[in-house]
Each structure stands twice: as structure tokens, then as C-alpha cells.
Symmetry: C3
Subunit: 351 residues, 3 copies
């Protein structure tokens, strides 16, 4: 059903975006058109990645997922970076972290918790995730923020590059740990294997779709980015609000839908993995890769968020770790996470 809707959205969306780009349609309709098309394309990328992951086995599949799982966000961010809007890039990365941790996880806990009294997920996954969350958000993001206050720009950039390399290396080491040396420990991986999974598409078809959809997302993202300025003026939205809330919701729409669907099937392991795993991908892979890519651009991007962005991420991290560390969830925990998202959303709207 959802897949059929996505097909229709893409079938009409891409040609319209092309026409709109050529004839310079006004920015507000273009913004919505781009958003809808990207959401649909993200759905296709997700399915292609999943099919490929099943065919290639969990190890290569994990790597594929790590690379293409946030391909949409990466592409939107690269074009935003190219347009010189560093502020929106950092804001949308913040928004991805907040959206996944508070909104996606919150709605999953809530929706699942209304149906089932208590739901369980792997404590081993929760522990692994919480260690890396603290490392990424509370060590790797906080240190450059605080230290850069008494550094010049060149030193801040050196520190950013160093941290970016360490984040990527540790993310890779984490995959090695999860998929190779300690595979048996992660229950969810085993569970998935028990069901004999059949890929939706063949290897060739998956790769073709992945390629085409990625190219399409890149093209549409570029159009999307150009609408931001008008959007802000028209609706009175700040750059921060567009980045943290709007871009983040568009970029993560596919994850939202599938996490909630999994929670309703009582597969909380997968719902948590989508929400928190996606957060870790953004924090430990997409963000540092963008820092490195930005070195090729006119204005390099340091790993220094604004104070409200960083504080929002820290509070979200502490809240999620506290609620997840027992491997249990219920509707009220979901509501707490959602309430935190609303509070932070109001904050960025008013800022």
C-alpha cells in the first residue's frame, strides 16, 4: 500500500521537479513537491538497501546499510553545504539526531505501548548504543564546542578533522565488533536470521534502483535547498527551525514510518535499531564525512554546533539512555520522549 503510494509519488514527482526547475516555479510549491518526492525516493532506497543486505549476508549488508542508510541526508547536506549554508547543515544534523531519538523512538514506544502493555528489546543492543551515543554526543561533539571557545579558526578546524577521523574509525570498529567478533551477543541479529528472509528484489535490480534513486535524490535535493531562503522569509521561520525540524522530518520520514510499523508488530529490537542506529549513523558517520567533504568547498565546516543545538542533543541523549537501559518500553516512556521533542521544537521555533 505505502509502496504503491511511493511509486505514484515518484512517477509524478520527478518529472514535475524537472519541469519546475526549468521554468523556475515559485519556491513554496517547489518546496513541497521536492519534499514529497524525496520521501518517496527514500522509501525506495531503503527497500533496495534491505534487499541487497539480505543477498550479501549480514556483514556486507551492515556496511551497505551504514553507507546508504542515510544517503538522503548526506546528499541533501552536501548540496546545502555547496550552497554555503553551513548553519542549515549543522541544524539538520541536529534535527536528525533529535528526530530519531525523540520523535521516531517516542512514537514507536507510544504506538507499540498502546497495543502491548510492556515491550522488550535487547539489553546488549541498548548498552552498545548508549555507550556510543555518549561517546559521540557528549565527548566528540562537546569537546570541540568548549575547546573552540579559546581557539582560533584554524585550530578549531584541525580539532574537527581529528575528531571526524576518530568518529569514522570508531564507527567502523563498532561494525566489526557487532558483525564479526561479538556477533552472537546481539540477539536481534540472530532473530532475523531465524526467519528465512527472501529479498524483495534481485541483486541486479536492487543495485539499479539504488543507483537511480540516489541520483534522483541528489537532483531533487539541489532544488530543495534553493527554496530554503524564500521559505524562511515567507513563514517567518529561522534557519535553525528549517534545519532542525523541517529538513530533519523530510530526511527521516522513511525511518519514522518503518520504525512505528515494527513497534506495532512488537518487533521492538528492530524499531530501536532503526531509531538509535540511525542516530549513530548520523552522529558518527554522516556528520564527520560532511566535515571532511567540506574541506573541498569554499568554506570548510567545523564540528561546532550552536549552543542550543548541542544542549538539545545532550539532553535528548541523557533522556533516551535513561529510558532505554532496562530493555523495556511502554506508552508513557514514549510520551515522555515525544513531550521532550515538542519542548525542543517550540524552543527552536521561537529562537
Amino acid at each position: 500500500m505505502l509502496n504503491r503510494l511511493f511509486s505514484i509519488m515518484i512517477f509524478f514527482g520527478i518529472p514535475l521537479v524537472v519541469v519546475g526547475a526549468i521554468f523556475h516555479w515559485s519556491d513554496i510549491p517547489m518546496f513541497f513537491l521536492c519534499c514529497i518526492t524525496i520521501i518517496a525516493l527514500a522509501g525506495y532506497i531503503g527497500r533496495a538497501t534491505e534487499s541487497l543486505a539480505i543477498v550479501s549476508g549480514p556483514r556486507v549488508g551492515g556496511l551497505l546499510n551504514a553507507t546508504f542508510g542515510n544517503a538522503v541526508e548526506l546528499l541533501i547536506s552536501i548540496f546545502t553545504l555547496k550552497a554555503g549554508m553551513i548553519g542549515i547543515v549543522l541544524a539538520s544534523l541536529t534535527g536528525s539526531v533529535l528526530g530519531n531519538l525523540l520523535l521516531v523512538l517516542g512514537l514507536s514506544f507510544f504506538a507499540g505501548g498502546v497495543k502491548y502493555k510492556r515491550q522488550n528489546f535487547s539489553i546488549h543492543d541498548a548498552k552498545y548504543n548508549s555507550g556510543l551515543l555518549i561517546f559521540a554526543v557528549i565527548v566528540a561533539f562537546v569537546i570541540p564546542e568548549i575547546f573552540s571557545m579559546s581557539m582560533d579558526h584554524a585550530k578549531t578546524l584541525s580539532l574537527s578533522i581529528g575528531i571526524a577521523l576518530i568518529l569514522i574509525a570508531l564507527y567502523m570498529a563498532g561494525l566489526f565488533f557487532k558483525l564479526v567478533t561479538h556477533r552472537g551477543v546481539f540477539a536481534s541479529a540472530e532473530q532475523r536470521e531465524e526467519e528465512i528472509e527472501t529479498p524483495e528484489w534481485t541483486k541486479g535490480k536492487s543495485m539499479l534502483i539504488l543507483l537511480l534513486a540516489t541520483v534522483a535524490v541528489a537532483f531533487v535535493s539541489e532544488q530543495l535547498v534553493h527554496t530554503f531562503e524564500t521559505l524562511g522569509e515567507q513563514f517567518g521561520w529561522t534557519e535553525l527551525f528549517i534545519g532542525v525540524i523541517i529538513v530533519a522530518i523530510v530526511g527521516n520520514a522513511a525511518e519514522h514510518a518503518s520504525a512505528v510499523a515494527m513497534a506495532l508488530k512488537n518487533k521492538m529490537d528492530i524499531a530501536v535499531e532503526i531509531a538509535v542506529g540511525s542516530t549513530l549513523q548520523v552522529a558518527m558517520f554522516v556528520t564527520p564525512v560532511l566535515v571532511l567533504i567540506s574541506l573541498l568547498m569554499v568554506e570548510p565546516m567545523a564540528l561546532v554546533f550552536t549552543v542550543p543545538e548541542l544542549v538539545a542533543m545532550i539532553t535528548a541523549t541523557l533522556l533516551v539512555i535513561n529510558l532505554c537501559n532496562d530493555g523495556e518500553s511502554n506508552w508513557f516512556e514514549g510520551l515522555i520522549l515525544f513531550a521532550a521533542y515538542v519542548i525542543i521544537g517550540i524552543g527552536f521555533f521561537l529562537l
Copy 2:
């Protein structure tokens, strides 16, 4: 015994406060007179609420407790607000949080731990409490603090109102969770039911006492507030110290006594519930209600604490969550909490 003492204190206290108010006695004796009378009245309000709670069943009882449990603090704060001393209101709310988390819980752990080697309390309660503590203190109090730094006063106020409404809604949802959908999970509630509790007073008598005592507290609080200015000048105490330490100890004296008494009976579930539950009442109900009430006054109160107040609450929260999350206590954990209270107390005294 304690109840008899309270009767005597009220019997002499209220007439003396009335006489003192009429003849404008000097502020220092009036301050001590008011404090003693309020402590005794708080004892009566507590007993009346408890009796009513038993008669009305746990659900309505829980609601009653939520509303009248901090009636004294609410009333003192409203009169302080009316006198335009917003700084003292925020300070006394901070003091309630710190006093309950560090002093009440610390003395309970210590007193109980000296008598019993190890004491246990419900892990489910601890988890529920710690999630809400982080939500209230680390999300709902930190966000307006940080975001308001780059906001004008009107926006800060809008953010405060939004957060106040969310806090109250989530507090109500939490009662619904604890008393309706997940009642069986909370062991302490079951335990209490096992003992057939007989209310101390009948329904009618409880309500009459509740009404009279509340009116009396309101009257005495108004007298108390007027002594603050002289008190500060006389003893060299700052507004912050009066609010955080003095008002908080007077406003919570009843809780202190009953929590320690429960710990000595090895009923740690109830001791923790009094200390942490009371903190959550202050943070998620009394504080946001005061923000909303302040809108009717000349000078509205934003949900923005001073930095030392907020930092003290954050550190206290992190310490308590860490010490409580295993559902076990001993005398040394009590001492750690008490030592933290002393450190923070010295800080506010010198500030």
C-alpha cells in the same frame, strides 16, 4: 507524640500570628513564629490528605495527594509571587527539589542504613522516577535556560508557558499510567493495599481539617513572606540563601519527618516515594502552575532559574539517579547525598 506537639503548636501559633500581624511585631520573632506554625499545619494537611486518600481509593487519592501534597509550598510561593519577589519563588522551588532529593532522601538512607545493613525499594518506581526527573530537570528546565539566552522577554515567556502546559499534562499522564494502565507493576501500591488501612479521620472531618488548615497556611504564609527582607538584612543572608535553604526546609519539614520515620521502619518504598515523588510534584506540578498563575500578576515569572540554581538541580538529579537505579540503599549512599547537600548549601550561603 509528634501529632500532639503539632496540636499545641497550632493552638498557640495561630492566635499569636494574628496578634503579631495586628500589632506589627518585629520581623525576626514573627519569622520563627510563622515557621513553627506552618510546620505544624503541614503535618495536619498531610494527615487529612492521607485519610481522604484511603477513603477515596488509590486513584482519587493519588490525585488528591498530587494537589494537596505540596499545598504549603504552593501557598507560600503564591504570596511571595504576589509580593513581587520572583527570585525567592524560583529559589524556594530549587530548594524544594534539592531538599527532597539530597536532604530528605539522604537522611532516610542514612538513618535506615545505620539500622539495617542494606535496604531495598522497588526498581520499577526508581525507573519511573528517574525518567521523569531527567525529563523535568534536564529537559524542561535546561531548555528555557539555554534558549532564553538568545531570546527577548516575550518569547521567553511564550516558551515558559508552553513548557508549563506540557509539564502539567505529562504529570497527569504519569498519574494515569501509575494508577490506571500499569497499576499492578508498581509493587508499593500493592503492598499498601495488603494492609487493611483504616483512615485516621472520617471523610467529612478530613475535608474540614484540610480546608481550615489550608486557609490558615495561606494566612500565615502571607505574614512569613513579609519578614524575608528584614531577615536578609539582619543575618546577612542573600535572597537566594533564604529561598533555597530556609523556605525550603520550612516548606518540607513534614516530609522530612515522615520519610525518615518510614526508613527506620524499613519501608524504603514509601520513604523514596515521599522524597522523589515530592520532588516530581514540585518540578512538574507546583512550578508550572506557578508560572501560569504568575500571568495574572503584575510581573509574570518565566521558567528561567539562575545558573547556580539550575546547575545544583542537575548535579543533584544525576547523583540521585545514579544512587537509586539499583533499588538498594545503605548508610554511605545517604552520607554521599547529605554531603552533596552541604556543599551546595555552603555555595548558596557564600553566593
Copy 3:
């Protein structure tokens, strides 16, 4: 083997330092000479303390360990203090905390984890340690930092003295808790007793070695401190970097070696005890003692770290508590700790 190497290092090191001091050798070779000699002497102090601890039973042994365990750091710091370099003292205390929590523990987890898939240590110890870590770093260090921002120097000093006394008192109470009232709870203590330990040296020999080595460390430390200024100029190192990284590594070299050795023998209880116990000694004993000693010097030292120092300690504490609270470790957790150390190290290098 290592012991023999240490003997040789001392045999040549001490005479050379004496000669160098008399003939005013240049600072760079003197710096390395002093470092090597101190590392070797620290090994001897450690062995003498251990022998004495076995002879005197666990209670007095615990006290001895608490006092002499960080004798080297204490002596270096006193001479640095005497030279008026308060900045380096605070930096090297920070470095001890960071080095023990991130580097020593990280390498132990990693080295042990490469050999054994999963390693376990006492959850009771982990809980005890994490409560005190939060108390020391997040309450006792954060409060003076924040409160001193709106205090004059005299008040900051009063607050520092108060906190120093509370820290020392609580540290002593903790020893009483661990060694007297709740001894049975701490499994590692029992384990050690099971093996009938024979001290390496007799009581008399141990005390003589302890005395001589301590005097020697004091002398060499004084020489070491005088090389810092030249060292900074020569290598372009800041005072902070010398203190946080260089002095800390020299002062803790003995602990590093023995913790990793224990991890490789799968005795994780002892490895964790060395790393975290040593951190607590520095934070709750060495640091406050230095604050009190500094009152006798020309310029007293307030308990106020620089913001980067404090933030680095807070993030390290939160990370370690999160990784340790399940009483399990593996190589990836070690790598996370090590990566955090590298990030913070780069930060201090660039600062």
C-alpha cells in the same frame, strides 16, 4: 623483569639527577632523566605499599594504599605548587583523572578484551565507584566552578576549603564503609584473601624502601618541575598540555603497567580498582589535600579548574560510568575509552 629494569633505572637515574642538578644540565635531557627515574621509583613505592598492606591486614592496608598510592603525584604537585605554577597543578590533577579513567581503563579493557571475549568485574564495586565519581567530579568540582563565577576570591577560597574538608571526610567514610561495615559485599576483597598472599618484602624492609623512595621522588620531582618552562618553549607545548598529558602520564606510569597486566590475567576486579580507585584517590584525597596545603604557600589554590579541564573530566566520568555499570567489558569498550582520550588529548594539545 620489569622490576629488574626499574632497579637499573634507579641505580643510574638518581646519581645522574643529582649531578645534573649540581652542574645545571640543560632542561630537555633533565626532563627525560627525571621522568624515567620517577617512573622507576613509583614502581618501588607501589611494591612497598603492597607488601606493607599484606602484613598489616586489609584495613590498615587500605589506609596505607590510600595515602601512599598517589604519593608520587602528591609530591610532584607540592613542588609545582611551591614554584607558584597553580595552573600546572590543576592540569596534572585533571590529567590524572583523565589518564586513569580513559587511558588506563581503556587499555586494560582493550588488552584484556582482545584475549578474552568478555570479562567481568564486581557490580558492587562499579556501583560504589560510580556514585563517588559523580559526587566528586559532578558535584564537588562543578559547584565551585559555577558558583565562583559570581563570587570574589576570598569567598571562592572559603568554598574551596569547605569542599576540600567534605571530600576528605567522605573519602575516609568510604574506606570505613568498604573495609569495616560492608566488607563482605565487596567480592574482590574476599577473592584476594582466598589466595594466601605472601608479602614480597618484610615489614621493616618495606618501610625503609617506602621512606627512601618517597624522599627520592620528592627530590627528583623538584628538579622535574624546573624543566617545565623550557619544555613548553622548546616544543611549543602549552602549560595545560604539559600538565594534563605529560605530567599525568609520568605520574601514573606504574598504575598503567599493573592495570594492563591484571587485565591480561583476567583479574578485571583489580584492574578496575587500580584505574577507578586511583581516580577517586586523586579526586577525593590528593586534590583536596593540595587545596589545604596551598593555604601555607604564598598563593593559595582554589578548587576551580579551567572550563576545558572540567568539561573533559565530566564527559570522561559520564562515559566511564555508562560503560562500567553492567560489570562487563570487551575490547570495543576499551577502544571507545581510548578514542575519548585521544580526542581530549588533541584538544589540549591545540588549546
